[in-house]
Amino acid sequence: MSERLAADRSADHAAIDRLSSELLPALIAKLGATGLGELEVREGGWRVRLRRPTGGGSYNTRDRRPGDKDRSVRSSAQAAANPVGLTPVGPGRDDRNGREGTGSDIGRVVASSPAVGTFQPRADARAGTKVREGDRLGSVDMLGIPQEVVAPADGVVGASLVEPGDAVEYGQELILIEFATSAETEA
């Protein structure tokens, strides 16, 4: 490699060092202030772009779709089935590689729909009930074929994100499973 390229490389190093010490804090501040999903800073020809996680690593998040119209981001079935207004996160969005749609978050996991159909909870899987991984929480009826909704982990049945009889799509979040605290586990 020529001297010139080596010199360029050391200049690159210096520039990147400065990016991390100066520009990233600026990005942090701006992101915090604006609530934007993406920010870009240019400096001396370098560009740094930060994209806020939007529930998956995909390039085009579903809230930035073509068309200026305010189309439903999820299907109408899901919108109707989401009375508590939680933003759907996780389930079914990270499973492009075939993993089942089971969302997880700190302190809780979510049982999600195994099919597109109508949801029916089990009567004995009320909020507060302790469950073990694999326990049946209800079913989704897909054209007369019941598909079991199971607990993705041990825990306690938490809030239901849909109502009995609601239309749900594949992978949709149905029931929160709170992790038992260590005290409870020992109890």
């Binding site: 085009n60 579903r62 597109v116």
Partner: protein, 456 residues
């Protein structure tokens, strides 16, 4: 007319159907697998509903999921596109049983044309010459060998169900036949869930020519000219054009008219395609009928100005065709290039990954039907079609000249595509002379065609 249609497909055809629905004032719901969550049709649709995981058998091919999605979203019809459930008479029947309309021929008609052997018999009885073939499905190896002997080698093994080259193999000897039978059976079983096979006389230097028809519920129909799909790789079409350079104008008109008459007489309904082999002296033999919209339908749209998908939807809704043969005028020449994520320099190995940059060509006579966009992550689960470049010109040479420019302008960074084989074909003498046969790519070899183009 329908109020709301569920689009049970993906990729470019989902977008094509969506646009046709909108023009007809119909709302759209795109049913998608989790692998297609961020796809363009999902983004463009009025609504989208997830029906299953990436594995098509658990999503796009899962009839209960598709029908359940249609009912939950309040659709009154389902458009299956091509592939997947598009020619599945069982699916069409269940759709109808749930008071939904299957956009395509009704189940009973799909069933009538479900067996290729039966279809040949039926349309043969209505005046279409058919290619010599086995007497029904092959019962066993012995039956296959006997029938092949009677027909005369080479013969083509074909599956009764499906299409797209799976389960098909040309064999020149009894020994080849024996070993190919097993492969074809397992391929057909895997692809279509049906391992019935039959034999057909193989014409070494044949052309694939098809006739597009549209027939309404009331038996009123038109043909919309022909398409030449001779450029194939292992029975997979990669380039289609119209009109075919294989036949004189009079012969083309004769073929189209006979095809239409036979299809009406046999009770076909909706848009459909009758496929023929044309031999070196211009004789034609009916092969099969495709009871769906085809990948290559835009070629016909460019020539006729008629929206085939809208026509298909209107017929399925019970509307009369609304025009007659005299209203169909063909203008100029059109060529469609299937842009696939596959590497022609490496045995057409399919690829997947992120489209770093996408630029579609444009200008007069250039149409691109594609679901690509810059940043799109092409999933590895489905077929490799990235889109279709369709180029029109007042005549074949001008369409070819314009195609060269458009192919050169197309940019799909980040994926290897088969654009190089199209560019090479546009320099191939047999193609330029309009003399391509279905064995061109496999006989001459894609590598040789690419190499010749590199030398030029």
């Amino acid at each position: 007319m329908f109020r709301k249609v569920l689009i049970a497909n993906r990729g470019e055809i989902a977008i094509r159907i969506l646009r046709a629905c909108r023009e007809l004032g119909i709302e759209t719901v795109v049913a998608y697998s989790t692998a297609d969550r961020d796809s363009l049709p999902v983004q463009l649709a009025d609504e989208a509903i997830c029906i299953g995981p990436p594995d098509a058998r658990r999503s796009y091919l899962l009839a209960p999921a598709v029908i359940s999605a249609a009912m939950l979203t309040g659709c009154d019809a389902i458009h299956p596109g091509y592939g997947f459930l598009s020619e599945d008479e069982g699916f069409a029947e269940v759709v109808a049983a749930h008071d939904l309309t299957f956009i395509g021929p009704p189940a009973a008609i799909l069933e009538r044309f479900a067996s290729k052997a039966g279809t040949r018999q039926l349309l043969g009885a209505h005046g279409l010459p058919t290619i010599p073939g086995s007497d029904g499905m092959l019962r066993d190896e012995m039956h296959a060998l006997d029938e092949a002997e009677r027909i005369g080698y080479p013969v083509l093994i074909k599956p009764s169900a499906g299409g797209g080259g799976k389960g098909m193999r040309m064999v020149r000897t009894g020994r080849e036949l024996e070993s190919a039978l097993r492969v074809c059976r397992s391929e057909a079983k895997a692809a279509f869930g049906d391992d019935s096979l039959y034999l057909e006389k193989w014409l070494d230097e044949n052309r694939h020519v098809e006739i597009q028809v549209a027939i309404d519920r009331y038996g009123h129909g038109v043909h919309l000219g022909d398409r030449d799909c001779s450029v194939q790789r292992r029975h997979q079409k990669i380039l289609e054009e119209a009109p075919t350079p294989a036949l004189s104008e009079a012969a083309r008109a004769d073929l189209a008219e006979r095809a239409l008459r036979a299809a009406i007489a046999a009770g076909y309904e909706n848009v459909g395609t009758l496929e023929f082999l044309v031999d070196s002296v211009g004789s034609f033999f009916f092969i099969e009928i495709n009871c769906r919209i085809q990948v290559e339908h835009p070629v016909t749209e460019m020539l006729t100005g008629i929206d085939l998908v809208a026509t298909q939807i209107r017929i399925a809704a019970g509307e009369p065709l609304g025009f007659s043969q005299a209203d169909v005028a063909l203008r100029g020449h059109a060529i469609e290039f299937r842009i696939n994520a596959e590497d022609p320099a490496n045995g057409f190995r399919p690829g997947a990954g992120v489209v770093e940059r996408y630029h579609a060509p444009g200008g007069p006579g250039v149409r691109v039907d594609s679901h690509l966009f810059s940043g799109y992550d092409v999933p590895p689960y489905y077929d490799s079609l990235l889109g279709k470049l369709i180029v029109w010109g007042p005549d074949r040479p001008s369409a070819i000249a314009r195609s060269r420019v458009a192919l050169d302008e197309l940019v799909v960074d980040g994926l290897v595509t088969n654009v190089a084989i199209h560019q090479a074909l546009l320099g191939n003498e047999a193609f330029l002379a309009g003399k391509m046969t279905t064995n061109l790519l496999d006989r001459v070899g894609s590598e040789a065609i690419l190499a010749a183009a590199a030398r030029a």
